[in-house]
Symmetry: C2
Subunit: 190 residues, 2 copies
């Protein structure tokens, strides 16, 4: 059921780092993105995959983690992602819908990852120039975002948004990650 998969597909930021993900799995996920809708069918997105520790170590320092958790700089060694998919825009393909395409591709890939017992997080706070340099990505391609992937090592719980309207996620004393979501009647306006 897609509803179970959507519910299970939370944004995870702590992983069993030793639980490896092979490149074939990443290719399967990118294939889901490939077969998804693209504005004007232009397909301007390209992908870089990473699953080996050495390459992962080049990517990790360029990622921003969980902006609302001010005391938490990101996952410690041992809890870091075991794989990444970097989404790039191919600047030689003109499209007005690149960001829509990115979102569609992300959701296809993350639902696919969830089905495989994996989890991930879409990271848009990326030091793009540094990452571009670290991986020697040609100028033709612009980094849009990075999907971090791994076997989740945390519990994420959906709450209702309280009366103060605060949507910031937070972590409780048991390290459960709480995510306040707006109610259905607050988002359907007609």
């Amino acid at each position: 059921m897609i509803s179970e998969l959507v519910l299970k597909n939370r944004s995870y930021r702590r992983f069993y780092q030793d639980s490896a993900i092979d490149l074939d799995t990443l290719r399967e996920l990118v294939n889901l993105a490939r077969l998804s809708a693209s504005g004007g069918n232009l397909q301007p997105l390209k992908y870089i995959t990473s699953s080996d520790p050495q390459r992962n170590a080049l990517i990790f320092p360029n990622l921003g983690w969980a902006g609302y958790l001010k005391d938490w700089p990101g996952p410690v060694e041992g809890e870091r992602p075991s794989a990444y998919i970097i989404i790039l825009k191919d600047t030689e393909i003109k499209s007005q819908a690149t960001e829509y395409d990115c979102g569609i591709a992300c959701q296809s890939m993350l639902l696919g990852a969830t089905e495989k017992g994996l989890g991930g997080c879409i990271i848009i706070t990326v030091q793009k120039e540094k990452l571009q340099e670290a991986l020697k990505i040609p100028d033709r391609y612009e980094i849009r975002l990075v999907i971090a992937l791994g076997k989740p090592k945390e519990t994420v719980q959906i709450d209702s948004v309280g009366p103060d309207g605060d949507i910031k996620y937070w972590r409780d004393k048991q390290a459960v990650h709480h995510v306040p979501k707006r109610d259905l009647d607050d988002i359907i306006i007609g």
Copy 2:
């Protein structure tokens, strides 16, 4: 299997218009979007649903259909969508990731629709001002895109992109809709 669902989830533009979709079904689909990721968890998206013929008739004339099919102005009466979900940005919620959020929400909803035997099309060519006026949508909300929904009445086939690199979809003599997709090895660049 998510891969089967992704494959089945094509962009459909002709429908059995008489096959009604009730509002509860649309609410279920929006709920999938609600539970999906949102940049900074800001959740700036709002939704308008439509499933009655009178309201649908206000929406339809404001939509642009299949830009590459120059001889086809859109579905004829009888083959039009039986429902719509309009995605709006709530301008009182500041977010840098609204378009990513839109894509994620679209994919959740369309995979949910596919699972229910429905199909749809994300339409970004929308006469936004006219539609805003037709539905009396307050200025606070900006239309981002419209998802057309219905019971699909056409066959959509994925092809490989040919040597000329042309990605334009086309319709053959049997009215099968062909969509050329780039190969996996052409989109994974490293």
